[in-house]
Symmetry: none
Amino acid sequence: MAMRVILADDHQLVRAGLRSLLQSFADVTVLAECSDGRDALKRVEAMQPDVLLLDITMPGLNGLEVARRVPAISPSTKVLVLSMHVGPEYVTQALRAGVSGYLIKDAAVEELRLALDALAMGKAYLSPAISQSVLHEFMRTGKEDPDADSQLQKLTARQREILQLLAEGHATREIAARLSLSAKTVESHRSQLMDRLDIHDVPGLVRFAIRVGLVSADLV
Amino acid sequence: MAMRVILADDHQLVRAGLRSLLQSFADVTVLAECSDGRDALKRVEAMQPDVLLLDITMPGLNGLEVARRVPAISPSTKVLVLSMHVGPEYVTQALRAGVSGYLIKDAAVEELRLALDALAMGKAYLSPAISQSVLHEFMRTGKEDPDADSQLQKLTARQREILQLLAEGHATREIAARLSLSAKTVESHRSQLMDRLDIHDVPGLVRFAIRVGLVSADLV
DNA sequence: CGCGAACTCAGGTTTTTCCCTAGTCCAAAT
DNA sequence: ATTTGGACTAGGGAAAAACCTGAGTTCGCG
Protein backbone atom coordinates (compact mmCIF):
# COMPACT_ATOMS: atom_id res chain seq x y z
CA MET A 1 0.00 0.00 0.00
CA ALA A 2 2.09 2.83 -1.30
CA MET A 3 1.22 6.18 0.19
CA ARG A 4 1.00 8.87 -2.44
CA VAL A 5 2.15 12.24 -1.12
CA ILE A 6 2.22 15.77 -2.44
CA LEU A 7 4.60 18.22 -0.85
CA ALA A 8 3.83 21.91 -0.47
CA ASP A 9 6.33 24.33 1.01
CA ASP A 10 7.58 27.63 -0.27
CA HIS A 11 11.20 26.95 0.59
CA GLN A 12 12.99 24.95 -2.00
CA LEU A 13 15.56 23.53 0.34
CA VAL A 14 12.93 22.39 2.78
CA ARG A 15 11.04 20.66 0.00
CA ALA A 16 14.14 18.91 -1.23
CA GLY A 17 14.98 17.71 2.24
CA LEU A 18 11.52 16.44 2.89
CA ARG A 19 11.33 14.73 -0.44
CA SER A 20 14.55 12.92 0.23
CA LEU A 21 13.35 11.98 3.67
CA LEU A 22 10.01 10.74 2.45
CA GLN A 23 11.55 8.72 -0.30
CA SER A 24 13.64 6.92 2.24
CA PHE A 25 10.38 5.44 3.43
CA ALA A 26 9.64 2.40 1.30
CA ASP A 27 5.91 2.88 1.39
CA VAL A 28 5.87 6.52 0.39
CA THR A 29 5.80 8.00 -3.08
CA VAL A 30 6.22 11.72 -3.59
CA LEU A 31 3.99 12.66 -6.48
CA ALA A 32 4.80 16.32 -6.72
CA GLU A 33 6.24 19.36 -5.01
CA CYS A 34 4.59 22.75 -4.93
CA SER A 35 5.89 26.09 -3.78
CA ASP A 36 2.63 27.94 -3.35
CA GLY A 37 -0.89 27.25 -2.27
CA ARG A 38 -2.53 27.76 -5.62
CA ASP A 39 -0.30 25.26 -7.31
CA ALA A 40 -0.83 22.82 -4.47
CA LEU A 41 -4.59 22.90 -4.91
CA LYS A 42 -4.29 22.30 -8.62
CA ARG A 43 -2.09 19.30 -8.16
CA VAL A 44 -4.15 17.84 -5.38
CA GLU A 45 -7.21 18.04 -7.52
CA ALA A 46 -5.44 16.46 -10.46
CA MET A 47 -3.67 13.69 -8.59
CA GLN A 48 -5.94 12.97 -5.62
CA PRO A 49 -3.05 12.01 -3.36
CA ASP A 50 -3.39 10.16 -0.08
CA VAL A 51 -1.58 12.85 1.83
CA LEU A 52 -0.85 16.52 1.35
CA LEU A 53 2.13 17.59 3.42
CA LEU A 54 1.42 21.26 3.78
CA ASP A 55 3.35 24.22 5.08
CA ILE A 56 1.23 26.98 6.58
CA THR A 57 3.18 30.06 5.65
CA MET A 58 3.17 30.33 1.92
CA PRO A 59 2.83 33.36 -0.29
CA GLY A 60 -0.43 34.11 -1.99
CA LEU A 61 -2.67 31.38 -0.75
CA ASN A 62 -1.59 30.20 2.66
CA GLY A 63 -1.71 26.70 3.99
CA LEU A 64 -4.77 27.23 6.14
CA GLU A 65 -6.77 28.33 3.17
CA VAL A 66 -5.49 25.42 1.14
CA ALA A 67 -6.47 23.01 3.89
CA ARG A 68 -9.97 24.41 3.95
CA ARG A 69 -10.40 23.80 0.27
CA VAL A 70 -8.90 20.36 -0.02
CA PRO A 71 -11.94 18.36 1.14
CA ALA A 72 -14.00 19.87 -1.64
CA ILE A 73 -11.64 18.95 -4.42
CA SER A 74 -10.16 15.71 -3.12
CA PRO A 75 -12.13 14.19 -0.26
CA SER A 76 -9.83 11.24 0.27
CA THR A 77 -6.76 13.40 0.72
CA LYS A 78 -5.56 13.82 4.27
CA VAL A 79 -3.84 17.05 5.10
CA LEU A 80 -0.78 16.92 7.31
CA VAL A 81 0.20 20.41 8.31
CA LEU A 82 3.87 21.08 8.69
CA SER A 83 4.44 24.27 10.55
CA MET A 84 7.06 26.05 12.49
CA HIS A 85 4.39 27.64 14.62
CA VAL A 86 3.23 26.11 17.87
CA GLY A 87 1.08 29.08 18.88
CA PRO A 88 -2.67 28.82 19.27
CA GLU A 89 -3.43 31.30 16.53
CA TYR A 90 -2.15 28.87 13.94
CA VAL A 91 -2.92 25.62 15.69
CA THR A 92 -6.58 26.21 16.40
CA GLN A 93 -7.27 27.45 12.93
CA ALA A 94 -5.51 24.56 11.29
CA LEU A 95 -7.35 22.02 13.38
CA ARG A 96 -10.65 23.61 12.50
CA ALA A 97 -9.71 23.67 8.86
CA GLY A 98 -10.14 19.94 8.89
CA VAL A 99 -6.57 18.74 8.84
CA SER A 100 -5.62 15.25 9.89
CA GLY A 101 -2.35 16.10 11.49
CA TYR A 102 -0.16 18.92 12.70
CA LEU A 103 3.59 18.45 12.80
CA ILE A 104 6.18 20.90 14.00
CA LYS A 105 9.07 21.51 11.67
CA ASP A 106 11.74 20.77 14.19
CA ALA A 107 10.19 17.46 15.11
CA ALA A 108 12.27 14.35 14.93
CA VAL A 109 12.13 12.12 11.90
CA GLU A 110 10.40 9.49 13.98
CA GLU A 111 7.53 11.87 14.46
CA LEU A 112 7.03 12.19 10.73
CA ARG A 113 7.00 8.41 10.54
CA LEU A 114 4.46 8.23 13.35
CA ALA A 115 2.29 10.82 11.70
CA LEU A 116 2.29 9.05 8.36
CA ASP A 117 1.48 5.75 10.02
CA ALA A 118 -1.40 7.33 11.86
CA LEU A 119 -2.76 8.82 8.65
CA ALA A 120 -2.40 5.49 6.88
CA MET A 121 -4.62 3.97 9.54
CA GLY A 122 -7.14 6.73 9.12
CA LYS A 123 -6.13 8.28 12.39
CA ALA A 124 -4.92 11.73 13.25
CA TYR A 125 -1.58 12.88 14.56
CA LEU A 126 -0.86 15.99 16.55
CA SER A 127 2.66 16.83 17.53
CA PRO A 128 3.16 16.91 21.29
CA ALA A 129 4.77 20.29 20.83
CA ILE A 130 1.40 21.90 20.26
CA SER A 131 -0.21 20.38 23.33
CA GLN A 132 0.04 23.67 25.08
CA SER A 133 -1.85 25.50 22.39
CA VAL A 134 -4.47 22.84 22.19
CA LEU A 135 -5.11 23.12 25.88
CA HIS A 136 -5.16 26.88 25.93
CA GLU A 137 -7.04 27.99 22.90
CA PHE A 138 -7.08 31.52 24.02
CA MET A 139 -3.62 32.41 25.03
CA ARG A 140 -1.79 35.56 24.26
CA THR A 141 1.78 35.46 23.09
CA GLY A 142 2.88 39.03 23.58
CA LYS A 143 6.48 38.31 22.83
CA GLU A 144 8.87 41.00 21.74
CA ASP A 145 11.43 41.01 19.04
CA PRO A 146 14.63 42.72 20.19
CA ASP A 147 16.09 42.56 16.71
CA ALA A 148 13.29 44.54 15.18
CA ASP A 149 13.34 46.84 18.15
CA SER A 150 16.70 48.21 17.12
CA GLN A 151 15.14 49.01 13.77
CA LEU A 152 12.57 51.06 15.58
CA GLN A 153 15.31 53.07 17.21
CA LYS A 154 16.46 54.16 13.79
CA LEU A 155 13.42 56.34 13.59
CA THR A 156 13.07 59.75 15.14
CA ALA A 157 10.47 60.29 17.83
CA ARG A 158 8.26 62.09 15.37
CA GLN A 159 8.50 59.29 12.88
CA ARG A 160 7.61 56.68 15.48
CA GLU A 161 4.64 58.76 16.45
CA ILE A 162 3.45 59.00 12.88
CA LEU A 163 4.08 55.33 12.31
CA GLN A 164 1.99 54.35 15.26
CA LEU A 165 -0.94 56.51 14.26
CA LEU A 166 -0.68 55.19 10.75
CA ALA A 167 -0.67 51.59 11.93
CA GLU A 168 -3.64 52.31 14.12
CA GLY A 169 -5.54 53.14 11.00
CA HIS A 170 -5.72 56.90 11.10
CA ALA A 171 -5.82 58.67 7.78
CA THR A 172 -3.08 61.08 6.88
CA ARG A 173 -5.42 63.98 7.34
CA GLU A 174 -6.49 62.85 10.78
CA ILE A 175 -2.92 62.49 11.86
CA ALA A 176 -2.15 65.95 10.58
CA ALA A 177 -5.11 67.38 12.46
CA ARG A 178 -4.22 65.61 15.67
CA LEU A 179 -0.63 66.77 15.54
CA SER A 180 -1.52 70.21 14.20
CA LEU A 181 0.51 69.71 11.11
CA SER A 182 -0.07 69.98 7.42
CA ALA A 183 -1.09 66.78 5.71
CA LYS A 184 1.93 67.30 3.54
CA THR A 185 4.19 67.17 6.53
CA VAL A 186 2.71 63.93 7.66
CA GLU A 187 3.19 62.54 4.18
CA SER A 188 6.75 63.64 4.30
CA HIS A 189 7.38 61.90 7.59
CA ARG A 190 5.76 58.76 6.33
CA SER A 191 7.85 58.78 3.22
CA GLN A 192 11.04 59.29 5.19
CA LEU A 193 10.35 56.60 7.73
CA MET A 194 9.51 54.23 4.92
CA ASP A 195 12.91 54.89 3.44
CA ARG A 196 14.63 54.26 6.73
CA LEU A 197 12.87 51.02 7.39
CA ASP A 198 13.13 50.08 3.76
CA ILE A 199 9.48 49.18 3.86
CA HIS A 200 7.56 50.66 1.00
CA ASP A 201 3.97 49.74 1.57
CA VAL A 202 1.45 50.43 4.28
CA PRO A 203 0.74 46.80 5.14
CA GLY A 204 4.44 46.28 5.68
CA LEU A 205 4.50 49.22 8.04
CA VAL A 206 1.59 47.83 9.99
CA ARG A 207 3.22 44.43 10.32
CA PHE A 208 6.42 46.10 11.45
CA ALA A 209 4.59 48.20 14.00
CA ILE A 210 2.95 45.10 15.40
CA ARG A 211 6.19 43.16 15.46
CA VAL A 212 7.93 45.79 17.53
CA GLY A 213 4.97 46.24 19.80
CA LEU A 214 4.19 49.77 18.71
CA VAL A 215 0.61 48.71 18.17
CA SER A 216 -1.30 45.58 18.92
CA ALA A 217 -2.97 43.40 16.33
CA ASP A 218 -6.04 43.08 18.47
CA LEU A 219 -7.35 46.52 19.03
CA VAL A 220 -10.85 47.38 18.06
CA MET B 1 15.21 20.43 40.73
CA ALA B 2 13.62 17.30 42.03
CA MET B 3 10.13 16.73 40.81
CA ARG B 4 7.78 15.63 43.57
CA VAL B 5 5.17 13.23 42.32
CA ILE B 6 2.11 11.57 43.79
CA LEU B 7 0.83 8.44 42.14
CA ALA B 8 -2.85 7.54 41.98
CA ASP B 9 -4.03 4.27 40.46
CA ASP B 10 -6.32 1.63 41.80
CA HIS B 11 -4.23 -1.30 40.63
CA GLN B 12 -1.47 -2.20 43.00
CA LEU B 13 0.74 -3.80 40.41
CA VAL B 14 0.45 -0.82 38.11
CA ARG B 15 1.37 1.52 40.95
CA ALA B 16 4.38 -0.55 41.85
CA GLY B 17 5.56 -0.63 38.28
CA LEU B 18 5.13 3.09 37.80
CA ARG B 19 6.86 3.84 41.08
CA SER B 20 9.82 1.80 40.06
CA LEU B 21 9.86 3.46 36.69
CA LEU B 22 9.60 6.95 38.08
CA GLN B 23 12.32 6.32 40.61
CA SER B 24 14.63 5.32 37.81
CA PHE B 25 14.48 8.97 36.81
CA ALA B 26 17.07 10.82 38.84
CA ASP B 27 15.02 13.99 39.07
CA VAL B 28 11.81 12.40 40.25
CA THR B 29 10.72 11.66 43.79
CA VAL B 30 7.59 9.64 44.45
CA LEU B 31 6.00 11.12 47.56
CA ALA B 32 3.07 8.78 47.89
CA GLU B 33 0.83 6.24 46.27
CA CYS B 34 -2.93 6.27 46.45
CA SER B 35 -5.44 3.72 45.37
CA ASP B 36 -8.55 5.86 45.27
CA GLY B 37 -9.55 9.39 44.42
CA ARG B 38 -10.48 10.55 47.86
CA ASP B 39 -7.17 9.52 49.29
CA ALA B 40 -5.39 11.16 46.37
CA LEU B 41 -7.04 14.51 47.07
CA LYS B 42 -6.11 14.34 50.74
CA ARG B 43 -2.48 13.64 50.00
CA VAL B 44 -2.25 16.26 47.30
CA GLU B 45 -3.58 18.86 49.68
CA ALA B 46 -1.17 17.82 52.39
CA MET B 47 1.95 17.48 50.26
CA GLN B 48 1.40 19.98 47.44
CA PRO B 49 3.29 17.89 44.93
CA ASP B 50 4.59 19.15 41.60
CA VAL B 51 2.79 16.45 39.70
CA LEU B 52 -0.17 14.19 40.26
CA LEU B 53 0.00 11.14 38.03
CA LEU B 54 -3.60 10.20 37.88
CA ASP B 55 -5.51 7.22 36.59
CA ILE B 56 -9.02 7.96 35.40
CA THR B 57 -10.79 4.78 36.37
CA MET B 58 -10.75 4.58 40.12
CA PRO B 59 -13.37 3.50 42.62
CA GLY B 60 -15.20 6.06 44.70
CA LEU B 61 -14.03 9.29 43.21
CA ASN B 62 -12.83 8.92 39.67
CA GLY B 63 -9.82 10.62 38.17
CA LEU B 64 -11.76 13.24 36.25
CA GLU B 65 -13.43 14.45 39.38
CA VAL B 66 -10.12 14.49 41.20
CA ALA B 67 -8.56 16.52 38.42
CA ARG B 68 -11.32 19.10 38.65
CA ARG B 69 -10.73 19.60 42.34
CA VAL B 70 -6.97 19.73 42.38
CA PRO B 71 -6.54 23.38 41.34
CA ALA B 72 -8.57 24.48 44.35
CA ILE B 73 -6.56 22.62 46.91
CA SER B 74 -3.09 22.76 45.35
CA PRO B 75 -2.75 25.32 42.60
CA SER B 76 0.84 24.52 41.76
CA THR B 77 0.16 20.84 41.19
CA LYS B 78 0.02 19.75 37.59
CA VAL B 79 -2.20 16.84 36.77
CA LEU B 80 -0.94 14.25 34.35
CA VAL B 81 -3.72 11.89 33.43
CA LEU B 82 -2.79 8.31 32.80
CA SER B 83 -5.55 6.50 31.03
CA MET B 84 -6.16 3.46 28.90
CA HIS B 85 -8.90 5.30 27.03
CA VAL B 86 -8.28 7.20 23.84
CA GLY B 87 -11.90 7.95 23.05
CA PRO B 88 -13.31 11.47 22.96
CA GLU B 89 -15.67 10.88 25.86
CA TYR B 90 -12.79 10.57 28.29
CA VAL B 91 -10.31 12.82 26.54
CA THR B 92 -12.50 15.87 26.21
CA GLN B 93 -13.71 15.64 29.76
CA ALA B 94 -10.18 15.37 31.06
CA LEU B 95 -8.94 18.30 29.03
CA ARG B 96 -11.81 20.43 30.24
CA ALA B 97 -11.00 19.40 33.78
CA GLY B 98 -7.85 21.44 33.49
CA VAL B 99 -5.20 18.78 33.30
CA SER B 100 -1.71 19.53 32.05
CA GLY B 101 -1.21 16.27 30.24
CA TYR B 102 -2.88 13.12 29.02
CA LEU B 103 -0.90 9.92 28.62
CA ILE B 104 -2.24 6.59 27.52
CA LYS B 105 -1.18 3.51 29.39
CA ASP B 106 0.38 1.66 26.53
CA ALA B 107 2.65 4.53 25.68
CA ALA B 108 6.37 4.00 25.60
CA VAL B 109 8.52 4.92 28.55
CA GLU B 110 10.00 7.72 26.51
CA GLU B 111 6.61 9.30 26.38
CA LEU B 112 6.38 9.42 30.13
CA ARG B 113 9.77 11.07 30.17
CA LEU B 114 8.63 13.59 27.55
CA ALA B 115 5.50 14.33 29.47
CA LEU B 116 7.35 14.93 32.73
CA ASP B 117 9.85 17.17 30.99
CA ALA B 118 7.06 19.17 29.46
CA LEU B 119 5.39 19.60 32.82
CA ALA B 120 8.65 20.63 34.40
CA MET B 121 8.87 23.42 31.88
CA GLY B 122 5.36 24.49 32.62
CA LYS B 123 4.13 23.12 29.34
CA ALA B 124 1.48 20.62 28.51
CA TYR B 125 1.76 17.17 27.04
CA LEU B 126 -0.87 15.30 25.13
CA SER B 127 -0.15 11.83 23.91
CA PRO B 128 -0.27 11.55 20.14
CA ALA B 129 -2.61 8.63 20.60
CA ILE B 130 -5.44 10.93 21.54
CA SER B 131 -4.95 13.27 18.59
CA GLN B 132 -7.98 11.84 16.92
CA SER B 133 -10.24 12.65 19.82
CA VAL B 134 -8.81 16.12 20.24
CA LEU B 135 -9.37 16.85 16.60
CA HIS B 136 -12.92 15.60 16.73
CA GLU B 137 -13.68 17.84 19.59
CA PHE B 138 -12.20 20.83 17.83
CA MET B 139 -14.38 20.36 14.83
CA ARG B 140 -17.46 19.61 16.84
CA THR B 141 -17.13 22.82 18.79
CA GLY B 142 -16.24 24.82 15.75
CA LYS B 143 -18.62 27.54 16.78
CA GLU B 144 -16.11 29.10 19.09
CA ASP B 145 -13.81 32.05 18.72
CA PRO B 146 -16.39 34.50 17.39
CA ASP B 147 -13.97 37.37 17.46
CA ALA B 148 -11.59 35.98 14.95
CA ASP B 149 -12.13 32.80 13.11
CA SER B 150 -15.83 33.13 12.50
CA GLN B 151 -15.24 36.61 11.20
CA LEU B 152 -12.84 35.17 8.73
CA GLN B 153 -15.40 32.63 7.69
CA LYS B 154 -17.76 35.42 6.75
CA LEU B 155 -15.56 36.04 3.78
CA THR B 156 -15.59 34.04 0.60
CA ALA B 157 -12.51 32.11 -0.37
CA ARG B 158 -11.69 34.70 -2.96
CA GLN B 159 -12.00 37.49 -0.47
CA ARG B 160 -9.73 35.74 2.00
CA GLU B 161 -7.22 35.29 -0.75
CA ILE B 162 -7.31 38.95 -1.69
CA LEU B 163 -7.13 39.96 1.94
CA GLN B 164 -4.05 37.90 2.49
CA LEU B 165 -2.26 39.32 -0.52
CA LEU B 166 -3.28 42.80 0.53
CA ALA B 167 -1.98 42.27 4.04
CA GLU B 168 1.25 40.91 2.65
CA GLY B 169 1.77 44.28 1.05
CA HIS B 170 1.04 43.59 -2.57
CA ALA B 171 -0.33 46.47 -4.59
CA THR B 172 -3.72 46.16 -6.19
CA ARG B 173 -2.14 45.73 -9.61
CA GLU B 174 0.21 43.05 -8.47
CA ILE B 175 -2.63 41.11 -6.97
CA ALA B 176 -4.60 41.49 -10.17
CA ALA B 177 -1.65 40.30 -12.21
CA ARG B 178 -0.99 37.33 -9.99
CA LEU B 179 -4.58 36.21 -10.06
CA SER B 180 -5.03 37.11 -13.71
CA LEU B 181 -7.78 39.55 -12.91
CA SER B 182 -8.54 43.13 -13.68
CA ALA B 183 -7.41 45.64 -11.10
CA LYS B 184 -11.02 46.70 -10.95
CA THR B 185 -12.04 43.25 -9.83
CA VAL B 186 -9.51 43.26 -7.07
CA GLU B 187 -10.77 46.64 -5.97
CA SER B 188 -14.25 45.27 -5.95
CA HIS B 189 -13.29 42.32 -3.78
CA ARG B 190 -11.41 44.53 -1.40
CA SER B 191 -14.32 46.88 -1.09
CA GLN B 192 -16.73 44.03 -0.43
CA LEU B 193 -14.59 42.32 2.14
CA MET B 194 -14.11 45.63 3.88
CA ASP B 195 -17.86 45.97 4.11
CA ARG B 196 -18.25 42.48 5.50
CA LEU B 197 -15.61 42.94 8.12
CA ASP B 198 -16.72 46.46 8.80
CA ILE B 199 -13.12 47.54 8.61
CA HIS B 200 -12.59 50.54 6.41
CA ASP B 201 -8.87 51.13 6.33
CA VAL B 202 -5.91 49.15 5.16
CA PRO B 203 -4.07 49.10 8.49
CA GLY B 204 -7.17 47.68 10.09
CA LEU B 205 -7.29 44.95 7.50
CA VAL B 206 -3.68 44.10 8.13
CA ARG B 207 -4.21 43.89 11.87
CA PHE B 208 -7.22 41.70 11.32
CA ALA B 209 -5.32 39.40 8.98
CA ILE B 210 -2.60 39.04 11.57
CA ARG B 211 -5.06 38.46 14.36
CA VAL B 212 -6.73 35.59 12.59
CA GLY B 213 -3.42 34.18 11.39
CA LEU B 214 -3.91 34.82 7.71
CA VAL B 215 -0.53 36.41 7.63
CA SER B 216 2.25 36.64 10.14
CA ALA B 217 3.57 39.92 11.50
CA ASP B 218 7.10 38.64 11.16
CA LEU B 219 7.56 37.93 7.53
CA VAL B 220 10.17 39.66 5.48
C1' DC C 1 -36.39 27.93 -14.17
C1' DG C 2 -35.69 31.80 -11.53
C1' DC C 3 -32.98 33.68 -7.72
C1' DG C 4 -29.28 34.96 -5.06
C1' DA C 5 -24.47 34.89 -4.25
C1' DA C 6 -20.03 35.01 -5.92
C1' DC C 7 -17.15 36.67 -9.27
C1' DT C 8 -16.00 39.58 -12.84
C1' DC C 9 -15.12 44.36 -14.87
C1' DA C 10 -15.76 49.41 -16.73
C1' DG C 11 -16.32 54.50 -16.50
C1' DG C 12 -15.97 58.55 -13.97
C1' DT C 13 -14.98 61.12 -9.74
C1' DT C 14 -12.60 61.88 -5.58
C1' DT C 15 -8.94 61.03 -2.53
C1' DT C 16 -4.52 59.61 -1.38
C1' DT C 17 -0.04 58.76 -2.27
C1' DC C 18 4.38 59.53 -4.51
C1' DC C 19 8.26 62.38 -6.11
C1' DC C 20 10.71 66.54 -6.09
C1' DT C 21 11.84 70.62 -4.13
C1' DA C 22 12.62 73.79 -0.39
C1' DG C 23 12.44 76.52 3.65
C1' DT C 24 13.56 76.93 8.87
C1' DC C 25 15.79 75.54 13.08
C1' DC C 26 19.26 73.73 15.79
C1' DA C 27 23.31 71.33 17.06
C1' DA C 28 27.70 69.71 16.02
C1' DA C 29 31.72 69.98 13.39
C1' DT C 30 35.24 72.77 11.19
C1' DA D 1 31.97 82.16 13.06
C1' DT D 2 30.71 79.56 9.37
C1' DT D 3 29.41 75.40 7.49
C1' DT D 4 27.35 71.08 7.49
C1' DG D 5 23.77 68.00 8.33
C1' DG D 6 19.73 66.08 10.43
C1' DA D 7 15.02 66.93 11.82
C1' DC D 8 10.91 69.06 10.89
C1' DT D 9 8.01 71.51 8.12
C1' DA D 10 5.42 72.08 3.69
C1' DG D 11 3.91 72.92 -1.38
C1' DG D 12 3.02 71.55 -6.48
C1' DG D 13 2.12 68.36 -9.74
C1' DA D 14 1.93 63.64 -11.40
C1' DA D 15 0.49 59.07 -10.46
C1' DA D 16 -2.02 55.69 -8.17
C1' DA D 17 -5.44 54.03 -5.61
C1' DA D 18 -9.92 54.17 -3.70
C1' DC D 19 -14.86 55.11 -4.17
C1' DC D 20 -19.37 54.97 -6.52
C1' DT D 21 -22.39 53.23 -9.76
C1' DG D 22 -23.76 49.92 -12.76
C1' DA D 23 -23.66 45.57 -14.99
C1' DG D 24 -22.63 40.92 -17.18
C1' DT D 25 -21.62 35.87 -16.14
C1' DT D 26 -21.72 31.71 -13.75
C1' DC D 27 -23.20 28.38 -10.60
C1' DG D 28 -25.74 26.10 -7.16
C1' DC D 29 -30.17 25.64 -4.94
C1' DG D 30 -35.05 25.60 -4.10
